[in-house]
Symmetry: C2
């Protein structure tokens, strides 16, 4: 085992996009667990990169406290227990949960209990992609918040992203017509051929509002929005009466230095009796069994396709986050640090 | 009975506020009902003036078709049947429903069935104020869409308006803490002394966001918004987690020539899991018995105070609509044309 612990710490809060001054590389001594006190030492194997991480860097109250200046950046990840004083997390266990950008993480007994042990035989990266928070976000956001019925027209923005592509496939499994919006022709092609999406709109080359009018002449029943901004506005314009908009994210605005104006057509929510609702996947952790049962069986039957974009190397952690916000990832953005032993 | 029928017709669609070119005075012959065909002739007694009327003048699809150019302007009203071939609407009956800006209205048998007969002894103006669509809007919007619980903090914008003031009082009857936003000191005083509102914010003299931070330190649980624009944005900023925003109207934007930008802080709907939902009172007509039972008993027990602002005179119809949009009305804006006979 190494005697040093490599870390990427939050050096200063970004005012817009993250850049080379946002994070700082640091080496510290590898922490030593106090086994008698129940401490657990984790070695980081995989890191997940998620749009929500941008919000965690801002110094304002939200559903999680902001990452502190000088602390390793918070991230979902998969790790392996390499020393443990907690009987629930024996040495060798593979775990997933909120980790951080460092090779070794020392947790006290209580903090360790926030982790989940990977079911036997789970591929570590899968715990962050197909079986991770991304798919839970898609599952509960679409079904519990959006509540589509068979035959509904479902619109998904950021459709080729990790969450969006799973939303599209769940909607198809529930008998809906699915329109996916993505930012490149190859992403649109992948959505049609691999994910079974009925119609796609390439927002980098097509007029989203005009295409929506053509593709959803009776209006959209459920809009799962990962993007915000002008895409949200175009979607609102084409919602059906008594429809719903699931606000999952607004990646278009996460890096704004100032708040962008919101959609100018919110009045349509009244005339068309539209429900617009935000949600956070963490609220659904107590319902993980529902997800494992239904989503797990779809997955085992090969009915859900996921893509992983796995970068490698500790040095590449910050640039992989930039890669995500630049929309260059194909599928779930991960970074691999080590194999389990 | 008069042989002429005075009318105010929609001359041209306004691009912003209604002005002297929006409506045109016209006299036509008083219509003669075909009694054998079941036709009904109504004499208009009271007209109601409602923010939603502005939307009815725009040539775009909505929950009701636009008023046609050259047609009398549509309005809720109370009238009296003066000749009838429909056994359900005998001569002398007082009715309420969607009428229009003319002294006499001829309805075929099917159209007449959209009207409601006033319960015996109802004061005609009350059918448009305390017992009218305005109070139904307040009742179902707050209770069915907003779903406040006892102890919740409820924010109401346009609180001194016809709908808002009833929302405030229903929220108090349901055990909530109520904060009302209005645009004048005397309106705020009336809300406190007559409607029992706990706290008020005079947006013409006070910083709404700063006052909300002070008055709702734990956040707002239900926000009933009649206004939109910057007031909606300030309210969103102070919503509690798992709260709801009832979109009833956005009088601040009804007369815009261009769409104003929406709230720049919609992302908070995600972090705080906020539900924002629009509604239209017409959807609740089938549940009018619920309203009559609960609201009616409150009213009979003197627990609901309403104000009526009753203008008079056929010539003053267009300026009374302007009066409403200028916020000069004190309570429900009505205009009286005639007494029942």
């Amino acid at each position: 085992m190494s005697t040093i612990n490599r870390q990427w710490i939050l050096k200063q809060r970004p005012s817009g996009f993250v850049d080379q001054d946002t994070f700082e590389y640091r080496e510290s001594d590898c922490p030593q667990p106090n086994i008698d006190a129940g401490e657990v030492l984790i070695k980081t194997l995989y890191l997940s990169f998620d749009p929500a991480m941008r919000g965690w860097m801002d110094d304002k109250p939200s559903y999680l406290p902001p990452v502190g200046i000088g602390e390793p950046m918070r991230a979902s990840g998969v790790g392996q227990v390499i020393a443990s004083g907690h009987p629930g997390f024996p040495k060798g266990s593979l775990i997933t949960g909120l980790l951080s950008w460092q090779e070794y993480i020392l947790l006290d007994s209580t903090s360790a209990e926030q982790l989940h042990i990977l079911p036997e035989g789970t591929e570590p990266s899968m715990a962050l992609s197909a079986f991770g928070g991304t798919s839970m976000t898609a599952y509960f956001g679409l079904l519990d918040v959006g509540q589509p019925k068979a035959g509904d027209t479902v619109l998904v923005s950021g459709a080729a992203g990790a969450t969006g592509s799973v939303v599209c496939q769940i909607a198809k499994l529930k008998g809906c017509k699915v329109i996916g919006i993505a930012g490149a022709a190859d992403k649109c092609a992948w959505l049609k051929t691999e994910c079974g999406v009925d119609e796609t709109i390439d927002y980098s080359n097509e007029d989203v509002a005009a295409k929506l009018a053509e593709l959803a002449p009776l209006g959209i029943n459920v809009f799962f929005d990962n993007v915000g901004g002008s895409i949200l506005e175009a979607g609102i314009e084409h919602m059906a009466e008594h429809s719903s908009i699931v606000l999952c994210g607004s990646i278009s605005a996460y890096n704004d230095t100032e708040h962008s104006p919101g959609p100018s057509n919110l009045m349509l929510l009244i005339a068309r009796r539209i429900r617009m609702q935000g949600f956070i996947m963490l609220d659904y952790l107590s319902r993980i069994d529902e997800f494992n049962a239904e989503f797990g069986s779809w997955f085992m039957e090969g009915k859900i396709k996921t893509q992983e974009d796995i970068q490698e190397g500790f040095d590449n952690i910050p640039t992989t986050l930039v890669r995500l916000f630049a929309g260059k990832n194909k599928g779930k953005q991960l970074l691999k640090l080590a194999e389990p032993k």
